[in-house]
Symmetry: C2
Subunit: 190 residues, 2 copies
């Protein structure tokens, strides 16, 4: 039995990803996920607060990385420069393995409204974390919130490119590129 083998959490994530890919998110049961991981429903909910979260596991770390990256930016950094520092810090969390399963994850999330909803909440969390860090630097609203959402837009754009197999650039380069494009687009708004 695999009951007492280590890395239970990781086994649950892998089992969930496999089953979601095979039968879809809706047609997969938490009990099935736990069974494939050699565990039970009880243990699943001890590791994840709900079924959706198994696909977004570890994204709370991103908030901390974003904030610490902004905190660590030099004092003379402009808001957007600080945001760029936060994004760069967060980029370290994205492994090549994550890049490999990226297309599968995207397909699963895009085909389920519950998962898109959770994704939207995560984006808000990113924005909130960055805005808070920016305010710690003395940047007032609404500039802090605006810069933070610019960061989220750059991040989502860059991530979408990064997981696309036809794009082999590094994530940090993509982040800088997308943030630059957004910065350039600002002047065309009005």
């Amino acid at each position: 039995m695999s009951r007492w083998e280590p890395r239970a959490r990781e086994r649950l994530v892998r089992a969930a990803a496999e089953l979601f890919d095979e039968h879809g998110y809706d047609s997969t049961t938490v009990v099935q996920i736990a069974q494939r991981a050699g565990l039970t429903k009880s243990t699943f909910f001890r590791h994840f607060p709900d079924k959706r979260e198994v696909l977004f596991a570890g994204q709370d770390v991103l908030c901390e990385l974003l904030a610490s990256g902004i905190d660590a930016a030099p004092d003379e950094a402009t808001p957007l420069t600080a945001v760029a520092a936060g994004l760069e810090a967060a980029a370290g969390n994205f492994t090549p393995e994550l890049r490999a399963i990226g297309p599968v994850l995207r397909a699963v999330v895009e085909n389920n409204s519950d998962l898109r909803e959770r994704e939207a909440l995560k984006h808000h969390s990113f924005a909130d974390a960055m805005a808070l860090a920016l305010r710690r630097r003395g940047i007032a609203e609404p500039a802090a919130g605006l810069a933070a959402w610019l960061g989220v837009l750059a991040f989502t754009d860059a991530y979408a490119c990064w997981v696309d197999p036809s794009c082999d650039q590094e994530l940090t380069a993509l982040l800088r590129l997308k943030l630059g494009e957004l910065r350039a687009a600002i002047s065309s708004l009005d």
Copy 2:
């Protein structure tokens, strides 16, 4: 019996708002909501896709208003001017009655993570609708998406002020004000 009385949907919304205010969202059951409205669980789910939606009923109309407002903006309008037109069009959907129960709704939503999640999804919907309408005007990405999120930020800011009893300004005025503040903040970003 009230079984065949009209406005079943409205009765369900009122019953839900009352019960959420009295006992909280989590401690209120769909069966209880239906009972207070003189209906049953079956009928509740015939009017709303899920329990959360009873608090966001009619927000899909906002997407259409935002889009049609942007579509109706003059050809020479800049992206932000078009967004302003969309926001102004959407403002017509906010009645004084909605303003009165605003603080209650805010408290209920802020105290429940499921509801904040749904709210985040609604904001994404607003942004998507506005970005799509802006692209119809020939505005390319990422400018369209950026302008759309500026609109969402202005909208949420303005709405928060509007429902605050200590602020008696009109929503359209607040929208113009917040959008102006955001526009001014842009130059301070970098």
